[in-house]
Each structure stands twice: as C-alpha cells, then as structure tokens.
C-alpha cells in the first residue's frame, strides 16, 4: 500500500525547480525516457518511475536507488522528452543531493567518482593507473580490466608513476572549498 507524502512531494518539487529549473509536475508519464535509456536495463526503477516517485513524494527511495547511481548522463531522455523536461538534469541533481547528504548508495559509481576526484585533487590531472588500482580495490574487484593492462602498456598508453602537474595544488584547494560550501540547504 503506498501512502502519498504531499509534504515531501511539494518540498522536493520546489527544491528541484530552484536548483535545476525543472518541474516534475510537467511529466505526463509517456515513458519515452524509459524507452530510450541505454542503461535502464540495470536500473531498479525505470526513469519514468523515478519521475513518478518524485511526483508523489517517495524521495528517500529515489535517492537510495540504483537508477540514480547508474545513470550515465547520456542525455537521450532529455533530448526526446515531449514535454521538454531535462530528466538527465534532474538525475544529475539527485546524484549530488545523495553526495551532500552523505547517503549510503548501491553500486560502485559513487566510489568511482570520489576516487577520481581525490586523484585529480592530488595530481591535477588524472593518473589512470593509480586511479584504476584504487578503484578496483574499493569495489572489491581487483582483477577488473586486468586483461587490458598488458595491451595498453605495450601500446604505451599507460603511465605508471603519477606526476603532479602545475595546477595540482590549486585543484586540491578548489576541491576542498567547493565541498565545504555544499550543504543540503543550498
């Protein structure tokens, strides 16, 4: 039995309008976003259902979903929505809300993002080998993509020793300050 939560619904509808200028009330559930989404086959809720859940206030379930985490931001949904809603923009914002609220989320996408940013905060530019090793450990798949290692090395596409670039320190400071400023109220 679903119980609608009109307060959550209104609160998040206003929040999304403020943050990304999109109104979930415009969605008439045509399913075009779901139809075109390349990643939907791995989601727990298809994109149109996420929109519906937001409309009725089931926000916590949305923020804890695999769907929000696995969205690739390919923008196909936004491009084809007949009501011109930026659905990818809403999903992007939901990802950032999950981060700032420090929620526990499924899948490894959040680890990927965090380790990537930590890497560039340290070196300025992405140090691929270092980052992939770290990610594989964090996602408990140490042999992930191991088969690619040798070919990439032989083609000279892998650099082992990370080098700090000229702007690395500033990037580190930007990272720290930006995250300090992001609170849930903004």
């Amino acid at each position: 039995m679903i119980r609608y939560d009109p307060q959550q619904a209104t609160f998040y509808r206003d929040k999304l309008m403020e943050r990304v200028k999109e109104d979930v009330a415009e969605c008439y559930q045509c399913g075009n976003c779901t139809a075109g989404c390349p990643a939907a086959f791995t989601f727990d809720y298809p994109p149109n259902k996420i929109m519906r859940m937001l409309q009725v206030g089931m926000v916590d379930e949305v923020l804890a979903s695999k769907s929000v985490q696995l969205c690739i931001q390919c923008l196909t949904c936004t491009a084809r929505c007949p009501r011109n809603i930026d659905i990818a923009g809403i999903f992007e914002d939901l990802k950032t809300i999950a981060v700032v609220r420090e929620m526990k989320v499924p899948e490894d996408a959040d680890k990927f993002n965090r380790l990537f940013l930590q890497n560039i905060a340290k070196y300025g530019r992405l140090s691929e080998a270092m980052f992939l090793v770290r990610f594989n450990l964090a996602s408990r798949k140490p042999m992930n993509d191991a088969g690619l290692g040798l070919p990439m090395m032989s083609k000279g596409k892998l650099e082992f020793l990370p080098k700090k670039s000229g702007g690395a320190d500033e990037v580190g400071r930007i990272y720290k300050k930006a995250l300090e400023r992001s609170t849930w109220e903004n």
């Binding site: 008439y28 045509c30 399913g31 075009n32 075109g36 939907a40 086959f41 149109n48 259902k49």
Partner: protein, 661 residues
Amino acid sequence: MRIGVFVCHCGTNIAGTVDSKGIAARAAELKDVVHTQDITYTCSEPGQDAIQEAIQMKGLTRVVVAACSPHMHEVTFRRCVEGAGLNPYLFEMANIREHCSWIHEDYDEATEKAYEIIKMAVAKVRELEPLYANEVEVNKDVLVIGGGVAGIQTALDLADAGLQVTIVEKETTIGGTMAQLDKTFPTLDCSACILTPRMVDCSQHENIEIMAYSEVERVQGYVGNFTVDIRRKASYVDWEKCIGCEICQQKCPAKAPDSFNEDLVETKAIYLPFPQAVPKKAAIQYDYCRWFQEGKCKVCERVCPADAIDYEQEDEYLQREFGAVVMATGLDVFPWEEYYHEYGSGRIPDVISGLQYERMLNASGPTGGHVYRPSTMGKKKEEPEEPKTVVFIQCVGSRDESVGRPYCSSVCCMYTAKQAILTKDHVGMDTDIYVFYIDIRATGKGYEEFIKRAQTEFGVKYVRGRVSKLYESDGKVVVRGADTLLGDQVEVEADLVVLASGITPPEGSGKLAQTINISYDEYGFFTESHPKLRPLETNTAGVFLAGACQSPKDIPTTVAQASGTSSKVLGLLSRDKLKTSPEIAVVDQTRCVSCWKCIEVCPFGAPEKQEQRDGSFKSHVIESVCQGCGICVANCPVNCIALKGFQTDAIIDQIEEALLA
C-alpha cells in the same frame, strides 16, 4: 439633459466588493442626473423593465448603466433603451465589474473607484449624439474556399437553401482528405462510398459552381460586398474537351510525385488523381513534364482522343463578387520526416505515416488494398511480402512540445484503432499488432466501444508507452519503446511501422489568412471569434470557418460544424440589406489635407479618395467597411477625423472628470 444612472449589484459579483446601493444614491448629486436606481440583476427582465419605465416616466434623455463589461451586455442595454423610445447611442456603460469589483479586494477603495468610473461615464454621456445605423446592400453569393467534406457540406446546405455557391479548390478535384481514406471510424463505412455521392451532388447542383485547380489571390471589400480575385491554374489540358479517359496517364513516360497517394508510389507527369475525381480532368505537373523541361515528348497530345492537350495554356485570372466567405481549407499531415530523426528521418522504407498506410489499405489505392512491406515493393523478380508484425505509434507530432506541437490531434487514437482492425482483416487474424500509446482519446458516439472491439474482437495489443527509437536490424525494424504499466523497456521487431502523424494546417495557411484578413494562431489554424460562443465566425465580418482549418476534428464534428456554418451564413444573407454599426469614423472634409495617412494605416481599407466637385480629392470613410477601431483618428495630422460615439470632446470630458474633479 435628463440623465438616468442605474447601478447593478450583479448578485455579489459587484455588490460583494462595491457598495452599489450607496454609489447609486450618491450619483444623484451629479449635474443633470434626475434618476438613480440600484438593481440586483440589471440585465434580467425586471431590470430592463425598470430602465424602460424610468425612461418613460421621467423623460430621460440619456442613460448610464454601471455594471459589467460592454462586451457582455452593451448590445442588450442598447436594445432595451431603444425599446423605450430612446436612441440606443445615447447610452453609456460604466464597467464596475471587470474593471473594479473583480480585481480589487478593499471594499472602501473599490467603492470609491466605482463611483469615479460612474462620474466619468456621466461626463461622457452628456456629449453623446443620437446615431443611426447604416444599411448596406448585400450580395447573396457565397464563396467556399476548400472542397473537402466541410466545404462540400456547407456548399450543399447553402445551395439547397437557394443561394449561389462557388467552391474554389486548389487541387484538380474536390474531396479533400476524406477522399484519401479507406474506411471511416467507428462504422467502418467506406469513405469514398459516402463521400462521392456528395461530390457528384455538388457538381450537378444548379446552385453550385466548382472552380477546381484554382486559388484565391486577393480579397477586397467588406461583409456583403467582397470582391475576390481567383487564379485558375494552368493545367495544360482543356477541361471543356477532356473526357477523363486516363489514356494520357497510361502512356505518359515521365514519372512524378503522387500527392494523392502520399508519395507511396509515383504517378505520371500528366495525371488524374483518382477514378471518382470530381471534376475528372487531367492536369500536367509542369516540373516533371518532359516537354516543358526538355522540349521532347508530347505523347499525351498524340494519344488524347479528345484533342484536349494545350501546352500554351496560361493561368487565368477572374474576379467575382460574394456576400460571404467560408474557409474550409482542411488539413495537412505533420511532416514527421523533418522532425523525428530518431525514427529514421523517412529513410527507413518500412516506416510510413498513417495517411500513407491508409492509401495502402484502400482497395482503389496503389496496392489494391494489399498490405505489403514497402521495402519489398517495386522489386521486379520478387513478390512483395506481407508483414507479420505491425507496430503503430501514436502521438507523432501531437502532444509533443519538443517538435512545437503541444496540442492533441483528436483523430489519431481512433484512426489507429481502425487501421489496426483493417490490418487484421486484410492480412489475417494471426498478425501481431502493437499500438504504442500515451492515452486513448475516444470521445465521440460509439468511439469507446470501437476501441474495445479492437482490443477484444480483433486482439490488437495496446502498449502504454512511447517509442524512443526505430532502427533497422537484420531486415526488421526494431522498435525500442516502453511499457509503463509493467515498468520496463520493451523491444519489438516489426515488419512494418505506422506512425500516427498528427494534423497540421496546410502550408500557406498563414498567407491565405492574411489575404482574407482573418486571424490565425502560431500553427496556422484560423482563429474563431470566441471558442465557446462563436466557434464558427471569425472576427472579420462575413468570413466563417468550417472544418479542420479551425482545429483538428473528426468527420462527424466537421459535418456538423459545416452545417452550423451554413446556417450562420444564411442568417447573415437572409436580409437584402445589412445594418452596420454607426460608431465609425467620419472625415471633416473641409479640413482634410489629402495626406492619405488614414488610407495607409487603416487595416480594413475603409478610407477612400473621394473626388470633390472641384476635382480635388478628399478622404471619405466607407461606412460599411469601417470597424470603428480609431487608428485613423489617432493618426490624422490635422485631427479632422472623428469617431462617432467617441468624439474628442466626450473623451476629454471623461479625462477631466477623472483627473480634475
């Protein structure tokens, strides 16, 4: 000068925010006001009786009614005072509802404002003079632009009532879109069977003249007296001689696009659109004819048994006079190839539009009613294949803001169900049919039952969800859609995909509207005078609307509307003379300096250069054309034009009352 002031309560609409009783009483203080009264509903019978009684008992010479907007009841009250023997133009309405009680909340402030509005009305009414309506002669012939089912219905109704009707149709035959259909929902009547008798009626009716292959170039004049320039396009065939035998079409070597068959197949450069065409005459498409393009051929001239070909023929221009014009220009199909690139931009042969599929289903169409996969047609050594899986996609070019068409096209849910049923009938009950929809709109009589038939009796599978992409794979068209009720993506491999493309106004509608001087919206649909109360008229007197040119609609609604339109036209032309409003501009010719600015700015063509006795020319406003908009009054550099009913003195008195008193 004896002025009567009547203040309406309008129930609580006015009295809830304005002290009607109080300001009625206060109005007695105003100069020349000899009678005041507050009434609960002034427009009602007792209310109007009270006004008439007061006029007669107290000998009132001017009347002010403070109530709603003149748009609502000015006409009502003018009639009322006229009934009591007072000239109806010695009446002024003070709007204390839309301009006051409906937009303010503070009782005291609103009351004060309402009183000021009344004071202004009294100041103006003092200056008004009696005016008398003009009468103008009326031409009783009617022009119907468009020979589809709407135009045909209107023409037949008017002709049966004894009026002379001319139908101007841009194609070589009348019949319009309905002639292209196979069957009509919900009865599954054969479309041509019910339409062609009507078409023949038109051609045989003594009161109807069909001008086919013609277009309206220019419209001048005013209601009751339109002068229309019509261009009869060159068909390069003498229609007096052509017998419609079609031999020329058979022998012509040049291929050309076939718009009647929605480009599903090609026709020849010389063509007759379909066998039941009215009139059934041939025409040559200039751009595809070998004689005109290359200087060789002339086969048609050689084979024509009636010696009807005339390569020298030119466009003919005619001028006619009409009393009323009916717009019945119909619709076009949304050009999905230019917008829905995710559906293949028209380059995937097995993806076609609803109207193209309709031509395929039609027994007198290019495939003789057989349903084939277009990708297998036209191959010399192989038989064309019938599809085993057909997918229909609804809302293509409708309900879609991303292609600029937010409206619903009204007929697609029904025609898709019809085509699905016909597919099962033509190909076999074991054909797999899917309809991807967002909502099903089946509002007419018998429509919902028809949808149920499609789903149950015919086993058509309805999938609630839109389709995101179509692409070819292994000889099939992959349909990537969603089933929102199951909550998942779906993929269907189809042999044939039919897009229920929406209704859009025909190309050139905007330009035509400008020629006729009527309003149109951002899509090209013609604008009605009021969507609820006046859906058949336009804001241009004498021009009426019928059919899909006003908004997307199905055939029953179109026919009903067309008959309604003809009754409006009959109402207009039932008298020999028309009364026109006397609140029009009048030029003081003693002060006119012949600068012709008024002619330049008038949107209706009312001012004309009138020759005076001494050979000079002064401006004169044609009474029956002038709509009283006041633009010429404002633009005249020497202020010699007055607007009767809104004279400068009256307006200035109103302003002074508002600002100085």
